[in-house]
Amino acid sequence: MLEVRELKKSFRDQEILKGIDLTVEKGDVVAVIGPSGAGKTTLLRCINFLEKADSGAMTFDGADYDLGNMKKKDILSLRQKTGFVFQSYNLFRNKTALQNITEGLIVARKMVKEPAVAIAEEMLEKVGLLDKRDSYPSQLSGGQQQRVAIARAMAADPEIIYFDEPTSALDPELTGEVLTVMRRLAEEGMTMLVVTHELGFARSVADKVVFMEDGQVVESAPAGEFFAAPKTGRAKEFLRILDRA
C-alpha cells in the first residue's frame, strides 16, 4: 500500500535520513522505534510533506511519486487519503471538538454540513468523547485532545494514519486512554504507521517493527520476531536498556 525507497533528508549539512526504505501493507500496523534523534519524526513528516525530502521515491496505492520533486496537486490529493496525528495534538484552537472534525470534511472535501456532522459525531462516539462535542481544545485534557485528534484523522476515511509519538506529551494515566483508542483502530483493520516510544504497544499491537538509528533503518522485522530475538546488536541493546527502565 505504501512503499518508500531511498528517502534522504538533510538539515543544513547534517544528514538526518540516509536513505530509508519502508513498506507498509494494507491493514498493517507498523511501529517505528529507536532512540531520540534517529530521524523517526522526520521520516513521518517527509512522507506527509510537512518537510520536503531531498530525494527518494514513494509508491502510494499503486501510484509512484518522486519525493524530492512533488507537485502541489499531488500533495493535496495524497493528504486527503492520509491522516496525521501529532505529538502535540494540534487541534484547531478556535474550533470545538466537533468542528475540528467537520472542518476538513466541509472545507477540503466539500461535504455538506449535515453528513459531515453525522460523521464527526460517529467518530467522537468511537473515541468516547461525544459528550465533549461542543468543548474547545482548551477545555479538554491532553488525552482527550489527542483522542479528538485521532477522531479527526479517522473522519476522512483515510487509507493510512500516521502517528507521530502520539503519547509522548501525555502522563501515563492519559497515555492509556489514547493507546486504547489506537488499539481498537488497529483491530478494525486501519493501516497505521506509528512512531512511538511505547514498546508495550508496539509489542502487542504492531504487525511489524522498524528499528531506526542514526538516520537509517537498522532492523525491520515482524513484531513477534523482533521482540523475541532481535538480530542486530544495536536493537538488542536498545530493548535491554528500555526493558530495564
Binding site: R79, T82, F86, N94, V107
Partner: protein
C-alpha cells in the same frame, strides 16, 4: 462661570458635536477600515514570504512609520494636488490616515500571525486544506484575537489623529473649536471642551473594544 462663557460653551457644544459626528467619526471609521485591509494584506504577504511583495511591504512600513503623519497629509493633499491629482480634503484625509495607520496595524497583525504555533497550519494542511483555506479559517481568526488589543490602540490613536486633518482645510471637530476660539478668544475653555469631546468618543471606542475582546475570548481558556 460668567453667563457669556456659558453661552459660548453651549454654542460650542452643537458646533463641535455636529462636525464630530459627521466628519471626525466617518473619517475614523473609513480610515481605520482602510488601515485594517492594508494591514491584513501586508502582514499576510510577509507571513507567506511572497518574494518582491515582501520587500515592497517592508519599504511601505519603513516609509510610513518613519515620516510624520502631518507631512504625509501635506504631501498627499497639497503635493498630489500640485501634480494634478486633486483630492477633496476628506478623501485625502481618509487615504492618509488609512495608509499611515495601516503600517502600524500591519506590524500588529504580523506579530499576531507569527505567534500562532506552526502546528495549527500543519494540522490544517494535514486534513487536506490548502494553505489559504487554513489561513482564512484557522490562523487568521486566532491571530485576530491576539491582534485585537493593539488594533484597538490604533483605532483610538486614529480618532485623535483626525484632528491633524484640520490642517488640510477639512472642517472637522478640532477645526470647529479653532474657529470658535478665533471668534470669542476663549482658548482655555473651548480647547478643553473639544478635548472632552475626543475623550467621550475614545471612551466609547474603548468600551466597544472591551466588549469585542470578551466576544473573541469564547474559545480561549476555561
Amino acid at each position: 462661570m460668567s453667563e457669556r462663557l456659558w453661552n459660548i460653551l453651549t454654542e460650542g457644544f452643537t458646533r463641535m458635536l455636529v462636525p464630530g459626528l459627521t466628519v471626525t467619526i466617518p473619517l475614523t471609521v473609513l480610515g481605520f477600515s482602510l488601515a485594517f485591509v492594508i494591514a491584513v494584506a501586508v502582514a499576510l504577504v510577509q507571513f507567506a514570504k511572497v518574494p518582491v511583495l515582501k520587500q515592497v511591504s517592508r519599504l511601505y512600513i519603513w516609509i510610513f512609520r518613519g515620516t510624520p503623519l502631518l507631512v504625509q497629509l501635506y504631501v498627499i493633499y497639497y503635493g498630489l494636488g500640485q501634480v494634478g491629482l486633486r483630492l477633496s480634503p476628506f478623501v485625502a484625509g481618509v487615504l492618509t490616515l488609512g495608509i499611515n495607520e495601516g503600517a502600524y496595524c500591519a506590524e500588529s497583525v504580523r506579530s499576531a500571525l507569527e505567534s500562532i504555533p506552526v502546528g495549527q497550519l500543519e494540522a490544517g494542511e494535514c486534513v487536506g486544506m490548502t494553505w489559504w483555506q487554513t489561513i482564512r479559517r484557522i490562523i487568521l481568526p486566532q491571530a485576530m484575537r491576539t491582534a485585537f488589543p493593539p488594533l484597538g490602540n490604533s483605532l483610538i490613536a486614529m480618532l485623535k489623529d483626525t484632528s491633524l486633518v484640520s490642517s488640510i482645510t477639512l472642517a472637522e471637530m478640532f477645526m470647529a473649536s479653532k474657529r470658535l476660539v478665533g471668534r470669542y478668544y476663549e482658548p482655555m475653555a473651548l480647547y478643553l471642551e473639544v478635548a472632552v469631546f475626543y475623550l467621550f468618543f475614545s471612551t466609547i471606542l474603548t468600551l466597544l473594544e472591551r466588549w469585542g475582546e470578551k466576544k473573541l475570548n469564547t474559545y480561549e481558556y476555561k
